[in-house]
């Protein structure tokens, strides 16, 4: 088990290097001049050259990538200009490790941007996750146990609707009616959990419901299918024959076995969401990582795009690893050997 974990962690590190390296190459070695995007309409060659130098775009790509990676471990200064540091140290921005870069569009280090955006995405993801897991798994189990009868039809039918409606549509409906038109809940505006947990929850309820609607639908179908499959296994019949109670069989023998693939899906979905729920955050103007990513793409803010790719891929890759490791605990059939 220990060696397995070590091996997985190492492969995660290698994978992240590959992902950032590729992204970096695509953006910075491509045919577009990234400095061009830092310089607006009354740009002159002198300004362009200055920006290029200030951002280090005048150096070869491998040097830039090296600086990006070393910044992650030891931090960086922007602009990396010894002359300016000597004459006007107050104009230098220091970005401590793990430094993800500097956004010329926002005049901020990406660390600062992530530090304000990350709690928003985390809040949205956690709340939505709890709701969809309860509704999705619970609904799926109920549907499976009532297979073919009306509760099954109602649950599966509504799941189908939830599954087929796009996120932005549910989001806009929830925003327009309960918030804007009827005023039942305030117009969502992120307020930190540490300030007031109740305000935090009230402001997040609509984004939570939006995401939960979409995800719960697929979890209902997933859980139902796996539950039906496991409940028809021989060992369930054996357990029944041994005279165990119905709920013990459902929970201990049925659900636990059906849960394995669901945990995989849940881990990956949550990992992806932690990197930002792009549509939900945009609809509700929640300034999380997804919203930041959309804005950086809109503004061609290349350093931020690279950092966002790093963050999102880290979450997904790490979530994937955790899921694999968790298998060893959840599924008695899986034994992880080094």
């Amino acid at each position: 088990m220990f060696y397995y974990i070590v091996r997985r962690v190492l492969s995660v590190v290698v994978m992240l290097f590959l992902i950032t390296g590729t992204t970096f190459l695509l953006f910075f070695a491509g045919p577009t001049d990234p400095a061009r995007y830092t310089c607006a309409r009354n740009c002159t060659p002198a300004i362009l050259e200055g920006n290029r130098k200030a951002l280090g775009y005048d150096q070869p790509v491998y040097v830039q990538y090296g600086k990006f990676i070393s910044g992650l471990f030891v931090g960086r200064d922007f602009p990396d200009n010894a002359e300016l540091r000597a004459s006007h140290p107050e104009q230098i921005v220091h970005c401590p490790a793990p430094c993800m870069g500097y956004s010329p569009t926002n005049n901020q280090t990406i660390n600062t941007m992530v530090a304000t955006a990350w709690p928003v995405s985390l809040s949205i993801a956690i709340g939505a996750f709890v709701i969809w897991m309860v509704v999705g798994v619970g609904g799926g189990v109920l549907a499976a146990l009532n297979r073919g009868r009306w509760p099954d039809r109602v649950i599966v039918g509504s799941a189908l609707i939830g599954f087929s409606v796009p996120t932005f549509f549910i989001g806009l409906i929830l925003l327009t009616f309960p918030a804007i038109k009827w005023g039942w809940v305030p117009i969502p505006h992120y307020s930190p959990f540490t300030k007031n947990p109740l305000t935090w929850a009230i402001n997040l309820i609509l984004p939570w419901l939006t995401l939960a609607c979409i995800f719960a639908a697929s979890y209902i179908r997933l859980t139902r299918a796996y539950m039906i499959e496991t409940m028809s296994e021989d060992y369930i019949r054996t357990a029944m024959a041994k005279g165990q109670t119905r709920w013990r069989i459902i929970l201990r023998h049925g659900l636990r076995a059906a849960l394995t693939p669901i945990v995989t899906a849940a881990g990956l979905d949550l990992g992806g969401l932690l990197g930002g729920a792009i549509i939900t955050e945009s609809v509700f103007s929640m300034q999380g990582l997804g919203w930041t990513a959309v804005n950086s793409v809109k503004n061609m803010d290349l350093p931020v795009i690279v950092a966002m790719v790093l963050i999102v891929s880290t979450f997904i890759v790490v979530a994937n690893m955790l899921v694999d490791i968790a298998y060893g605990f959840i599924d008695p059939r899986v034994k992880l050997v080094g």
Binding site: V93, T105, T116, Q287, M300
Partner: protein, 577 residues
């Protein structure tokens, strides 16, 4: 278009657009139905909702109308400014703001002198001095750090240039050429004097831009100061400004109403949220619930919101002509468009009615054939070559007569959006009917930076662009867009996107600049506009947009200051208790 502010001119010529706007809606001047003076009380919170993000608050880097106006009204006072208006159609007056008056000009337009009022203070209580103004303007010359702002100081001040064309003064950080700046800008007590290279008879309009505002040297952190707001106006930042999100403002207790004839500073608090989408924002403004009742915005309504504005926001909307003209520039470096007949045929085939329809109809856009905005005194009102629809058959004949083999392949660049896609597919239909084979290339990210880049010179045959004047003189229309000498460099086209480079035209620009009489000078600019459009086919003006704004029901005194920037003017806004 986003980069330019707008200031309109004398009422007479503004009539066309403004009266049309007024006709289109009984509520066009609805804001004025509640006289500001009667109901205005101090107190309350004004919520500013925005869907466009502020790039800079550093006064020397601000070049967007919204930020010039909001910055000037809230925390960055300027030497002169425009008065607030009491209706959407009133034309404001130029008045002294930090200066006691609108300045004194001598040396036939080459020396300008301004005297500061007493009692001007920064938010920490220290006095605002003429040296602070001098220091502020000097930052414009540090072009490697203070990017984005207008370059008028560099263009106008009597400071020599280096061989590469850049100013010999490199700004207050490098200090190279500081003596040259000190000679051009002198301070004596409360008085600041500017020596200019050429006569600039409207220089006191130029200094309404915040690029000519004061900056406290000890607060200057270069690029790091971008969002550090250090106020000398009625409001100061409460906490910090967060890029792309916003901030909130409270009263600056060191601002003295007695020094200020323009700003009424009614609300106690102002919040600014720029993280919204335009559609949701307008839905909220129209729904008028809770805090949105005390909200205004500087973003015009998106087309999707227009049908609901008059019914849903009656009595609290403004429908006005926008400061912006949209136009096409044929590329003189392209093989096809270097031929004058091809440009003429292209202009003739352009179907402005398709543009208007796809934009959302006549309540959203007006066809035009002048580069200069209808609201400016210089507006020449050049007639359309063949009505709104153009004449595709005649254009086709013209192409054939000029020896082209049809279809003539052209590529047209435009700033992509859902609406723009529709507009350009309509324009393409007409161009193709006239014998062109039009390829469209729409993209939105850093549109202007891209079309200015040298690579675009060989890629596009025509490019879409937009422009609004900086102040009510066409000297901020014609030279910035069509004078090749100040635009074209090895680094690209500047704002002369189509590389129009004509010695006679440039000479005429110089001659016009020297005309001392304002009326004659503006008329000469108008003539140059007509020449560019009908003689050289250097630009193909398309339309003037209309702007629709909505404010909350508890906001009193929100009027669009069309002549200043074309947005709600926060100077006189108050909140109903």
């Amino acid at each position: 278009m986003k980069r330019r502010t707008f200031v309109a001119g004398v009422a007479g010529t503004a009539g066309l657009a403004l009266s049309a706007a007024a006709c289109s809606s009984s509520t066009a001047t609805s804001g004025s139905s509640t006289p500001a003076a009667a109901a205005a009380v101090k107190g309350g919170t004004l919520n500013i909702l925005m869907s466009t993000q502020t790039e800079h608050w550093d006064p020397q880097r601000v070049y967007v109308g919204v930020n010039i106006e909001a910055g000037n009204r809230l925390f960055t006072r300027t030497l002169t400014t425009w008065t607030a208006t009491t209706s959407d159609t009133e034309v404001p007056k130029l008045v002294g703001d930090m200066a006691t008056d609108t300045g004194t000009v001598t040396d036939s337009g080459k020396t300008w002198k301004f005297t500061l009022k007493d009692g001007l203070k920064w938010q920490d209580g220290k006095p605002v001095t003429a040296d602070d103004v001098k220091y502020g303007i000097s930052r414009t010359f540090a072009t490697d750090v203070i990017t984005g702002g207008p370059n008028y100081a560099i263009a106008f001040f009597d400071i020599p240039s280096d061989a590469d064309g850049t100013s010999s003064y490199k700004g207050p950080y490098a200090k190279t050429g500081q003596d040259l700046y000190d000679k051009a800008v002198t301070v004596s007590g409360n008085t600041i004097t500017f020596k200019l290279k050429q006569p600039v008879n409207d220089f006191n309009n130029t200094v309404t831009m915040t690029a000519f505002a004061a900056f406290k040297a000890t607060k200057d952190l270069g690029d790091k100061s971008n969002f550090d707001i250090w106020s000398n106006g009625p409001y100061q930042l409460d906490g910090t400004w967060t890029a792309q999100k916003g901030g909130s403002f409270v009263r600056n207790t060191n601002w003295d109403q007695a020094t200020d004839t323009v700003r009424k500073a009614y609300p106690d608090k102002i919040t600014w949220d720029e993280s919204l989408t335009a559609e949701t924002m307008y839905e909220r403004l129209i729904a008028d619930q809770g805090d949105d009742q005390t909200a205004i915005t500087f973003d015009p309504a998106p087309v999707t919101a227009l049908p609901n504005v008059e019914s849903g926001a009656a009595g609290r909307n403004s429908i006005v002509a926008s400061p912006y003209t949209r136009y096409l520039t044929p590329n003189f470096k392209s093989k096809v468009m270097s031929n004058a007949k091809a440009r003429e045929a292209f202009a003739l085939a352009t179907d402005r009615s398709a543009y208007v329809t796809a934009s959302g109809g006549p309540s959203v856009a007006l066809p035009t054939n002048s580069l200069i905005n209808p609201a400016l005194p210089a507006f020449p009102n050049t007639p359309l070559p063949a009505g709104d629809k153009g004449d595709q058959a005649k254009a086709k004949q013209m192409l054939q007569d000029a020896g082209f083999t049809l279809p003539v392949k052209i590529t047209v660049a435009y700033r992509k959006s859902e609406t723009a896609d529709k507009i350009f597919s309509g324009l393409k239909t007409a161009w193709d009917a006239a014998g062109f084979d039009t390829q469209l290339d729409g993209f939105s990210a850093k549109y202007y930076a891209t079309i200015q880049s040298p690579a675009s010179a060989t890629k596009y045959d025509a490019m879409w662009a937009g422009w609004g004047a900086d102040y009510p003189s066409a000297s901020t229309d014609i030279p910035p867009l069509l004078d090749s000498r100040i635009n074209i460099t090895a680094g690209g086209s500047g704002q002369d996107y189509g590389y129009f480079d004509n010695a006679d035209f440039n000479k005429a620009i110089d001659a016009t600049n020297l005309i001392a009489d304002q009326t004659a000078r503006e008329k000469a600019w108008g003539d140059l506009d007509t020449q560019a459009v009908t003689k050289y086919f250097a630009v193909i003006p398309l339309i003037v947009d209309k702007f629709v704004f909505v404010h909350g029901s508890k906001v009193v005194g929100a009027f669009v200051n069309g002549a200043y920037t074309g947005y709600y003017d926060p100077a006189t806004v108050s909140i109903k208790s």
